[in-house]
């Protein structure tokens, strides 16, 4: 019985030691396996990061070297996609210089985009300013340009551009109001001519008085443009509104179109500029 017990104890000890060894071997294998797998994953991550960094570098360099073929939107889209990527992997120390290089390129591209945007805003503002100062464009021309400008301006929320657009809109509004006045005066000019053609001198004189009431005084200057070439404007000898209205009556023909009307604070015309039809 004792022997049997002793043998049982011995075999238990042996069994217990075997399990221990087996466990030890298993733990060792697992540890070794995990370590090997970790190393492999790290390597894969490093390779992936390196490839992404290389691609990003190529894209950013292409943007930097582009001399105007790429649109700002395209540059922004590419930069945005690159910025979304995570290049910060502290375990891949050897790629850190490349990460820094890509980050530096991203900053340069951002600067290039900002400069290109500013250049476009400057060009747009110069275009609007030129339209505000251009007195040869018609209302239709200006309205068409304004629609195009507003379309472009949507991309940039620039306060100076918005102010200039407001000024251009104001100019168009004034020109439309002016056109109504021009039309009224031109109709009156035609009426004087029509009455004179019918030899209705009294009727023509009455119409002249009506027109004169819209001017500062009968001596209000009237300028007649005979030619425009670049910045050079050639006028006929300046006359007065009274003399001009009588001229229409005498010559029985309206040879000039209204170019510009300047009014005083009381709304009376202080200068009338005509142009040969």
């Amino acid at each position: 019985m004792k022997n049997h017990s002793l043998q049982h104890v011995k075999s238990s000890v042996l069994y217990s030691n075997g399990v221990k060894w087996l466990l030890l071997i298993l733990v060792t294998c697992f540890t070794l396996g995990t370590f090997s797998s970790c190393n492999s994953k790290k390597k894969m991550a490093a390779n992936d990061l390196e490839a992404r960094l290389e691609k990003a570098k190529q894209q950013l360099t292409a943007i930097m070297e582009d001399d105007g073929n790429m649109s700002i939107e395209e540059m922004e889209s590419q930069l945005g996609a690159i910025k979304k990527q995570d290049f910060d992997n502290p375990y891949v120390k050897k790629l850190q210089p490349k990460v820094q290089e890509v980050k530096s390129l991203m900053a340069q591209v951002e600067k290039k985009i900002a400069n290109a945007k500013q250049q476009q805003i400057d060009n747009l503002n110069a275009r609007i300013t030129s339209l505000i100062n251009d007195n040869n464009k018609t209302v239709e021309d200006l309205e068409s340009e304004l629609a195009d400008i507003k379309d472009v301006a949507k991309k940039y929320s620039n306060s100076e551009t918005q102010n200039l657009i407001q000024k251009l809109e104001e100019k168009i509004k004034n020109m439309k109001a002016q056109a109504k006045v021009d039309e009224t005066i031109d109709i009156q000019f035609d009426k004087i001519v029509s009455l004179a053609q019918k030899n209705d001198i009294n009727g023509a004189n009455a119409e002249i008085q009506k027109v004169l009431s819209q001017f500062e005084n009968p001596q209000t200057p009237v300028l007649i443009i005979v030619a425009i070439e670049g910045t050079i404007i050639d006028y006929d000898k300046p006359t007065t509104i009274e003399a001009y209205l009588n001229y229409l009556k005498d010559q029985k023909v309206n040879r000039n179109a209204i170019k510009e009307i300047e009014k005083n604070a009381l709304g009376k015309i202080k200068l009338l500029t005509l142009i040969k039809k």
Partner: protein, 193 residues
Amino acid sequence: MKKISFLLAAILTIASFIPALAQTDEISPARKQAIDRLALEKVRDLSRYISIIGDKSTPWSEANRVIDRATELFMLGSEMGVSSVYSSEIKYYGLREYFNRLMRLNYDKVEIEWYNIEYVSDLAKQPDGTYVGVITIYQRFKAYDKENGLVYQDTTKKDITVYVKRKETQIAGKLIGFWDVLLGDIRVKETSK
């Protein structure tokens, strides 16, 4: 000797600039065309004024106003030639006197028409910068009285000298460059029935 060489060099330098200055002073064909038209228009204006002044139905005050306008078209001291089919003599009158005589012609109705108004000598630039040309016109004159109807008519070819000079003036604070067109003597070239 050095002084002479320096003087010669200076003269040559200045002389080389003269053609360039003259060139910049020239006007473009488009602007020239505009002043050609302007001068013709002034002659057409005069034609209409003469017709109004001669028209017996024109009120006296209107005729006098038109005489003032017509006189303003001329250079001071200009003359108008007057001829008749009954005489070879051509009389010249000062413009105001001519217009006053025209207004007082002793007919019941007068019709004056100018036609074929065109340049006989193009406007050419003179050394003083004035453009001078000659425009020819044909004038058909018809006079009527109540009893006998048409009592006199003639057709006269007349040459008008035109002077065009660019001037500058200030209007409402703006410097205005304008072409001052003035008519000179109107000379009778031929008269026929």
